[in-house]
Amino acid sequence: MGVPELLSGDGLRLDGRREGEVRRLTVELGTVSGADGSAYVEQGQTRVLVAVYGPLEPPGGGGSVYQSLLAASTAAALESCASAGRTPRRPGRRVHTMEIEENDEILDEGECAGVPEKPLRVLPPATAMGRVRCEYSVASFASAPASARAFRAQRRRQQQRHRAAAAAGDVSAPPDSTAGSASRPSKFERQSREAAARIRQVFEGVILSGGDARSGGTSRLMPPHAVVDVFVQVLQSDGGELAVAINAASLALVHAGVPMRGLPVACSATALPHQRKLVPAVDPSAWEMRQASLANTAMGGVPQVTVVTLPSEADDRMPLLYVDYQAATSLPEQPGIPPTRATGDLFEQVAHLAASVGCPQLHRVMHTAAVAHLGQELARREWSATAAFIAAVQ
């Protein structure tokens, strides 16, 4: 199978970017009135809208019981994630959560080398454990091929059910009956839940709650029973949805005034085939991802990485908060071909590029946009408190 060339002779990608360049980023805050904070982010053709409510006391009261339940369910989810990392149910998909206070280098050497063996580690940064609730949904029109596939799959399942019902002699069931469709989540539902869990994990480590001794008087800003609701809606998906969703969520949380360690910035990256080699590149579009995964089969082990950094945690370095990556180990093993996997080297290069080249670009735009928007809000509020304002409308 031929390997597609994704870089021109000059090293330009199909849309004219270099490997280290992210797509055009547009940020708008306060797009959802009624939410405590909201943000709309466009990165290339990927468009995500996030609304944040909170911190608020969960309705129904009984804060502590509710919170312990939430914490228990979170722990269970993490546990299942961790076990999924060891068992071959979803091979090749791993999550690393790293202790940012102690993690001096951008990527710990040991973490990279042991890519497929290391299970999930949940470490103290999760100061807001169980305090973040996230709902992630992808609009049915977000990407044409995906939704068409989903539609066909749904039709197929319905027809199967109908046939089964007919075979059982139950002819009364109409062919389009959706009874029992809720029994098993579809692939898209599972992906959405997984993305929601990732976003929740990131912000559990970033949001400061009163329990943290170093958080500096945040107990009033984030009371013991309060939770933060994050609603993510992917309106259009063209690669890097998780990264864009995390960026939009961190802007929405900033807009809502939720106390945080810093402004988390996420960036996705992969490796593109170029002259029989794999070249790391940030922020791939959906098309590039598809092509790279074709190359995956031919060249073996193209990592797909999403990195979250906290650029402002310290001036001189960018601590890595979170990595979500998909190596090529999910391919079925074929006789004669060794099981493919991203080499530690390539994985490290890709993650490093995303953290040190992609994230700063995105951070600059996000920071500027957020400061500009909040400054505008403040200016309007202060100006509209003056007599000149009243005179203007009379």
Binding site: L56, E57, G216, H225, V258, S312, E313, E377, A379, I390
Partner: protein
Amino acid sequence: MFTAPSATTRSLPSPAPLVLPGDAIHAPEVNTLRGHGTRQSAHDRASTLRATQAGVVERINKLVTVRALRGRYVPEVGDVVVGRVTQVQISSRRWRVDVQARQDAALLLSAIPLPGGVQRRRTPEDELNMRAVYAERDLISAEVQEVKADGTMMLHTRIQGRLGRLRQRGVLVAVCPAHIRRSTRHVVSLGYAGMAAVLGVNGYVWVYVESEATALDGGEDEEQEMAAEMPTDAAVGGVTAPSRPQALALCRVRNAILALDVSCFSISVESIRAVCRWSEAVPPADMLQPAFLERLQAQLAASA
């Protein structure tokens, strides 16, 4: 609801430098006091603080705080708030009230004027009658009496005739708490078509028809208290439906408040009245259309 983007008008210069979470705040003084919204990172020098909130840096002597620009209501003692009773906790002799804050407020049985208006000890009968005073879903106006160290707030409704259940014909408008301008009076007459409002500092605004303001429940009439056990329309008692002009005026005031909120302008008696008068030519239903909002923002920006 999607709003008109705020970029439609000429941008104003920000009156103060802003920080985002994680941004460094230079604090060269020795023994700087870390206030709300700041923290000390393990990686930083001692003279550097980090913001944990988006907002404006405020310094009072050695105390450095970051004041959030938006977000949920942060209580201060003496604030007049409008809230909705979410729970009647008879065993602990308190009501839980939703005031759009980070946690629910508490209104103690001992913090309300009892029916009859006499000063006396609270009896077990009073506890059993709590639901007759304020039931679930009742709207009340109250004052913040105390803010505990963990941010819990205690309310009281002891000012008769001014605080208490909101039982007039009116409408509740929820806005961003930061947009309500603090002033000396928050239970005010708007001076527009006989409308009045309780401008809750917490972002809940109760707009009502002023001529019925006498029905403001301070607990002075015991019969009405007892009749109000069921929070149905019948229990509203002598309050009649607003006439058509009154209803239109209510709508106009409501939409004026929402238009100010959406445009990030501060909400005060003067600004509400000004927008209501300025919008006379527009039917109330059109006041939240993007066309009107843009016209309003352009008009204001022209004179900024």
